[in-house]
């Protein structure tokens, strides 16, 4: 084990901290407004890297610059984020026919997307490798219409739920639904793109990313680190402006305080929540791409799980629901990870648990008890 404090580690810690902060803010924004953990957020982060990879070329470089690919990746992730809300949280918020329609639509899109990709995409491994797998692949895809059909029958099936009364806590149901969503996204990524970790092709990365730009305390700072720092600062400032200065931002805060009254003001609470998912997901996409730029060969279906979990620990550490807390927690966890060498996934949790022991609601958490 080399010395604990080296300038190189400081640079690394700052970058990791910035990235974790970007993801953690997504968790915390959603939590702030619907008081539920978005377990699928890590998966959106992972998809961010994958969408960008698809555009810059998974097997053959397409010559597209990674920063160009970032934009469609953000859009795709925003769509997925909205999808997660519609599929997972909206039906639990509202028992209206419309929410069924939306969840059918979004699950259907997910399925159609997978089929479309399989029909047009590269010769991926799992389903097309031999005849048997093809049959099963279609079998699994065939499940989707069944699920959709079941959802369409939703109102008819309600008697099942009604006959015994709802005893499960709605919050718990939502949490478990989100775990289900996370499982689906992760598995789809594995099925479609395989288990092998990948990296962005060299051709897509502008040369300055790996060149030394300047040095602090004798440590060379590569272009990519600088890009991460600048991006994180700019995004955080923009986010702060969005939340405090704009109408939609004020509406977001209003919804996080009192959704019912917000609805009485004519605020469409569902749209505001969907918007929150969109913003958080777009930020996760940026973090996903930048993370994959920083750590080569890290794009895999698992990256969402580990990095997402660590970022979530960061959000909890800072006080979940609090945007500044998430930034602070992200940086803190980044330092823990950076200085410990980065390979250890348990250290962030140790830090998180220690902090929660002293401050049960995190560093900047709300003092009043939120109901369980």
């Amino acid at each position: 084990m080399s010395s604990l404090l080296t300038p190189e580690k400081l640079v690394d810690a700052l970058s990791l901290g910035a990235l974790y902060a970007l993801i953690a803010v997504g968790y915390t924004m959603v939590y702030g407004i619907i008081r539920l953990i978005n377990f699928a957020h890590g998966e959106v982060f992972m998809l961010g890297a994958f969408w960008a990879l698809l555009i810059v070329g998974m097997d053959e470089p397409t010559g597209v610059n990674i920063f160009v690919a970032l934009v469609p990746s953000m859009l795709m992730c925003a769509a997925v984020g909205m999808n997660v809300d519609w599929t997972t949280y909206l039906p639990l918020r509202r028992r209206l026919p419309r929410s069924d329609a939306l969840s059918i639509l979004s699950l259907g899109l997910l399925g159609i997307g997978a089929i479309f990709y399989k029909l047009t995409g590269d010769a991926a491994h799992v389903w097309y490798s031999d005849g048997a797998h093809t049959a099963i692949g279609w079998g699994v895809i065939g499940l989707l219409p069944i699920v959709i059909f079941a959802l369409a029958l939703g109102e008819k099936l309600e008697w099942l739920g009604r006959s015994l009364g709802r005893v499960a806590s709605d919050r718990l149901s939502a949490l478990i639904t989100a775990i289900g969503m996370s499982l689906i996204l992760q598995t789809l990524a594995q099925l479609i793109w395989g288990a092998e970790p990948r990296a962005f092709p060299e051709a897509s990365l502008p040369a300055f990313l790996n060149e030394s730009v300047f040095s602090i305390f004798g440590a060379r700072v590569a272009g990519k680190e600088l890009v991460i720092w600048v991006a994180a600062i700019v995004i955080m400032v923009l986010l702060q402006l969005l939340v405090t200065r704009t109408k939609i931002g004020t509406a977001m805060r209003a919804c996080s305080m009192d959704q019912k009254t917000a609805a009485l003001m004519g605020i469409s609470v569902d749209s505001v929540i969907a918007f929150t998912f969109v913003i958080g997901s777009a930020m996760a996409a940026i973090a996903g791409v930048l993370y994959a730029v920083k750590v080569g060969g890290s794009i895999s279906f698992r990256m969402g799980y580990y990095q997402g979990l660590i970022a979530f620990a960061a959000a909890v550490l800072g006080g979940i629901g609090n945007i500044k807390g998430a930034m602070l927690g992200g940086v803190l966890i980044g330092f823990v990870q950076g200085f410990s060498g980065g390979g250890n996934f348990s250290l962030p949790f140790v830090v998180m648990i220690l902090v929660l022991l002293i401050m049960p609601r995190g560093i900047l958490g709300e003092p009043q008890a939120t109901r369980a």
Partner: protein
């Protein structure tokens, strides 16, 4: 202007409104009085779309609104000031007012209305940059009414505006309510525990008991009614 016909509402197995029919004519103040749990607030929440009636119809300006989303109902010019004021505690007074004007995009008009609100409630202007949660109960009630008025409603539904306030403040609030009706031509549906005050302010009154209307009459007539006096006005 607003008409409820045979509206039933259930909370799960609980039958909260058992066939309510009532009418609010344009330009009038109509009040609903009744004991705790009689379904007064439920009626308002149903009108503003927060609750769904199990049966019955609600029409406003000749338009069915009982199937519309709350935000669409606000668009039709119907605004609900909820019970307990429900100020956004961590938004400033200014931001609270902006939320009241959420559906509007005419910046000039909003500013005019903001000034108008400050004329009615000068204390709010002093508190502009304070968080809503730091205001006193009376100030919060003023802010709640001002916030509702920012949406330029044609019909305002007020739920228990006197709740928990000192009598002098209640007096002030009700003067404003009467003034809004008189000078701005605002139609008002008022739910109130303080029956005598409500009947003095209103043109017409409905008396609720466990989810049904047991009496409806002109407010002045109700105020004289023996039964009402005994049950709600605390005098025999």
């Amino acid at each position: 202007m607003l008409r409820l016909e045979d509206v039933h509402v259930h909370y799960g197995k609980i039958h909260a409104l058992k066939g309510i029919s009532l009418e609010v004519p344009e330009g009038k103040i109509v009040t609903i009085i009744g004991a705790n749990g009689a379904g007064k607030s439920t009626t308002l929440q149903t009108i503003s779309g927060l609750l769904r009636p199990t049966s019955g119809t609600i029409t406003y300006d000749g338009q069915r609104i009982d199937l519309m989303a709350p935000s669409d109902i606000v668009k039709t010019g119907l605004c609900h000031t909820p019970e307990g004021r429900r100020i956004f505690p961590e938004l400033t007074v200014d931001e609270n007012l902006s939320m009241g004007a959420y559906l509007r995009s005419d910046k000039g008009g909003i500013e005019t209305d903001r000034k108008r609100a400050f004329q009615w409630f000068p204390i709010l202007e002093e508190r502009r940059t304070q968080h809503g949660g730091t205001l006193s109960g009376g100030e919060q009630q003023m802010l709640a009414i001002a916030r509702s008025m920012m949406g330029r409603p044609k019909l305002l539904m007020l739920d228990e505006p006197s709740l928990g306030l000192a009598p002098i403040i209640v007096q002030q609030i009700f003067e404003i309510i009467a003034m809004l009706n008189r000078e701005e031509g605002l139609t008002i549906l008022l739910v109130e525990q303080n029956a005598s005050l409500a009947l003095r302010t209103a043109d017409r009154g409905y008396v609720y008991e466990t989810g049904v209307v047991i009496m409806e009459d002109d407010a002045s007539a109700l105020a004289k009614n023996e039964q009402v006096r005994e049950a709600y006005l605390g005098s025999a």
